[in-house]
Symmetry: C2
Subunit: 529 residues, 2 copies
């Protein structure tokens, strides 16, 4: 069954998006939030409005068959999916469109495209599903011709090892297609980032994606058994092992390398049996910090809930999970092996110690009902909102971090206040900043902030940057990480540079020069080209 | 209370060693194993026999106070603690002794020693407890003067964060002193490698040490929150975070770097509450593979036992854990938060599905009783055996690896047969090769082999190398790792070179040249100098 193409002007595939009801619900919240009745609305360009510069390079004959210079292909690879990307699309700014998009079908194709990039002085941008919200797949505007390498044709599960519960998987496979190929075998990767439908295995690994599990196996990192990587200096494959202590992990150098060292082509991934036992539900707390304290205790019990995300009162209200008077914890355990009631019972005791009251008794499908179900739906549908809100001048965005528990409360207040101040200063009126946790560790949470501001057409990019800067400065000054699982890309570079040790950057740069001597791969991401 | 000095000719501190009973027990097994009544025994040299070359370099005045050229200091840092080291000590071969041993008290001292090493053309060997069994702290024999940097004076817990359960700890602290400093706070690192008493935090991190937990948190890697590292190019500190997705992990570049990139001086480490609830005991299986199949299922349940080590029948017999007719699993759960009977019950069901019969009902201290207790004591005392057996020409050594489950059984048979063949060819008579698992992952075990051969004085090093080569070739040819937690050092280099991707070695070499441009740090370990 042929799939619709990915959208140029928004999230997901053509024909998909918010329903009229979802749009009305979201707009209603924004109207009340900003105290306005109408939003001055810009008309979005259409496909026919897009005008691209003529390609500056043409592929050699040997790879012409896998390359496209069609307007759709170039325009659909011009932007990532962040706020600034939506604004630039709205402004019909496609100056970042690559000159050529290559769709390799194997590693030989990739090596050939790399050779061509090197010989033609072009930059090469590895592209999975394009769901980056940090400019990770946006071609650089440094005057060089650019080639985007779209891995969508590397979409197969190649081999399954039932005994060890692992599979060898091509990097370009999208989340749903991956799970479709595993399902007949009773296996699942269970890596469900918010972008699951529109992101790929290789993208998850290259950006240290955060997935389904709120504890223990938070990032994709832990599921990687080995990697194959094509670099301009050759192809390498790490050894497939359940564990090793032989030198620094080769895999860990490529996990999170965001396309600057090589192109991940396949990986053996650790899988799970499909869960058969579940317990879960929403737990209400009087406020966010009380919920956080309960979660701290829970995260240190060794119970390892698959879900234990908390929402502050405003976030719970915005997603329909509560009435705005209470904070909510989404709590769940799952297992393919054993009933999990004993685990759930002890977790609820931890919650009760902090006044946490379960919304429903923890039934098997409780995580799909009530507050949890409301929030889950809102979570998956959320990215479709941007294409509806940006034309109305609404600046809604998110940022996420991690911090140790003993610093969390002060850090939260400082970051929230700085972001609120940034909104006021940038837009001249108050906005809203809410917080939830996406993941929790024994030593600290991963707070995820959402902010909403009423911007002004013509100034949206500047206003967004001012707010983003206020928030990011506060995150870095407060000791947090500039990203827990959204990656660095182009937009987080200034703060990443303050976060990571300079000598590590120097070592990473030296490693890149060895693997990519001509500097063709994703120049400007993570380190200077 | 002043501690005794570390031994020159054996394991541990002066005055410690096997009791007469332990020695008699071990010798009795060897006599029956090899069918002999006596062992031609070499007289060990004494301290007064040691003759060292005159130091080729002398420290500058500014650091003379932290440097020693005393014979004890130089001789005690001449060797690691592997089989070849014991033989060389026995042969009074101290040609690898460093010219100078420096005992820095702070990072400034370390930087000053590095500067001196650079200006004097010396190699610098970072030294923790010196317990390496792979030549990891043996100075290289490349003609250069050598300085050993002994970190023992960096032995403090500097800061404790109860809320996040973490501590900032200096790298030179030994295991017992570390736990002593944490105990009053109710906290524990719970990292108990076999070398626990004679190894240091920095050594564990630099070598990816494997610890107490048989599942989940197998290596020290997962407990590292951040690192401080002094390199010849400067000092760096990674950000203290519970989790991050900002680029490749800086910590992971130094974890396992075995002293070639810099000297780890301190780390924030994740801690545990002291366990209050325990369940455990030994489970008997008809044979090793049946035990392994049960363990595979158990490792995939998500129960995460703290211990689930299995011993083959011969290994169980050698350590007094069983009578040689059955394989044994040491099974234990522990928690600071909740009773673990539900976990133990389900684990025993997994065992029972494969005919596994518990030796005792799982009481709170069962892991210190019966077979488990026998084995635990033998495990801790084992390293003291070498200094008693080498003078008798007995070649006893171990090697460890990891492999995915679907390859394990064939891999085990091939490696065992190759090692047995190596013993016969090297010594002219059969020896013994046994196997246990030290750690288990959902996708595979970490098998740990012990071998015993009757060698011949004058040929011990050659015989050992022939056996080691046969075993290591089989491990690498079979797809395993040359080390799961013993590290690479000097002795595993040939097989590590076959295991790790060449392009990764090139990238690591480039990183090293940036951090250590003069190549002073542990030259020859992991990569070429």
């Amino acid at each position: 069954m042929a799939q619709a193409r990915l959208k140029i002007f928004g999230w997901g595939r053509e024909g998909e998006g918010m329903t009229a009801e979802e749009e009305a619900f979201a707009l209603d919240i924004h109207r009340r939030r900003f105290g306005v009745t109408e939003f001055p609305t810009t008309v979005m360009p259409t496909f026919d409005d897009i005008k691209l510069r003529a390609p500056r390079i043409a592929p050699p004959a040997a790879i012409a068959g896998i390359c496209s210079t069609a307007t759709y292909d170039r325009a659909a690879h011009a932007h990532s999916k962040g706020f600034t990307d939506a604004v630039r699309s709205m402004l019909n700014d496609f100056s970042s469109a690559p000159d050529v998009v290559a769709y390799p079908t194997n590693e030989q194709d990739i090596a050939a495209v790399m050779d061509w990039a090197g010989s033609s002085g072009a930059a090469l941008i590895p592209f999975g599903g394009g769901s980056s919200v940090v400019g990770g797949v946006t071609p650089p505007a440094d005057g060089r011709p650019t080639i985007t390498l779209d891995l969508a044709r590397l979409d197969k599960v190649l081999e399954i090892d039932h005994t060890s519960r692992a599979a060898r998987i091509q990097a370009g496979v999208f989340g749903p297609a991956l799970e479709d190929q595993l399902r007949p075998h009773g296996l699942t990767l269970r890596h469900f980032p918010q972008s699951f439908e529109y992101s790929t295995l290789g993208g998850w690994i290259a950006t240290r994606s955060g997935g389904h599990f709120a504890t223990l196996y938070t990032h994709i990192d832990d599921f990687v058994e080995n990697l194959r990587v094509v670099t301009p200096s050759g192809t390498l494959e790490s050894r497939r092992l359940p564990g090793s202590g032989a030198g620094p992990s080769p895999d860990r150098m490529f996990i999170g390398s965001e396309g600057i060292l090589g192109v991940i082509t396949e990986a053996w991934m650790r899988l799970q049996d499909r869960p058969r036992f579940r317990a879960g539900g929403a737990v209400r707390f009087k406020d966010f910090f009380t919920a956080a304290r309960a979660l701290r205790v829970l995260s240190q019990t060794g119970l390892y809930p698959s879900n234990c995300r908390i929402l502050d009162a405003e976030e719970a209200f915005n997603t329909g999970a509560a009435d705005g008077s209470v904070a909510v914890m989404m709590l769940a355990f799952e297992s393919a092996d054993h009933p999990v009631e004993a685990w759930m019972k002890r977790a609820l005791e931890c919650c009760a110690d902090f006044g946490g009251a379960p919304e429903t008794a923890g039934g098997a499908d409780a995580h799909r009902e009530g507050a949890a179900g409301q929030w889950r739906t809102a979570f998956i549908r959320m990215p479709y909102g941007r294409e509806k809100m940006v034309p109305r001048g609404i600046i809604s965005d998110t940022f996420e971090t991690a911090i140790t528990w003993e610093r969390f409360e002060a850090f939260h207040d400082t970051v929230k206040a700085a972001t609120e101040r940034g909104i006021r200063e940038a837009t001249g009126r108050p906005g809203q900043v809410t917080c939830r946790f996406t993941h929790a560790y024994p030593d600290g949470p991963a707070p995820y902030f959402s902010f909403h501001a009423l911007g002004r057409h013509g100034a949206l990019l500047d206003q967004w940057l001012a707010i983003k800067t206020a928030a990011s400065d506060a995150v870095i000054d407060g000791g947090g990480t500039i990203t827990h699982h959204h990656a660095v890309g182009r937009e987080h570079r200034p703060w990443y540079d303050r976060q990571r040790p300079d000598l590590f950057a120097a070592a990473l740069t030296a490693a890149k020069r060895t693997l990519d001597p001509q500097g063709i791969l994703n120049p400007g991401v993570l380190i200077d080209p």
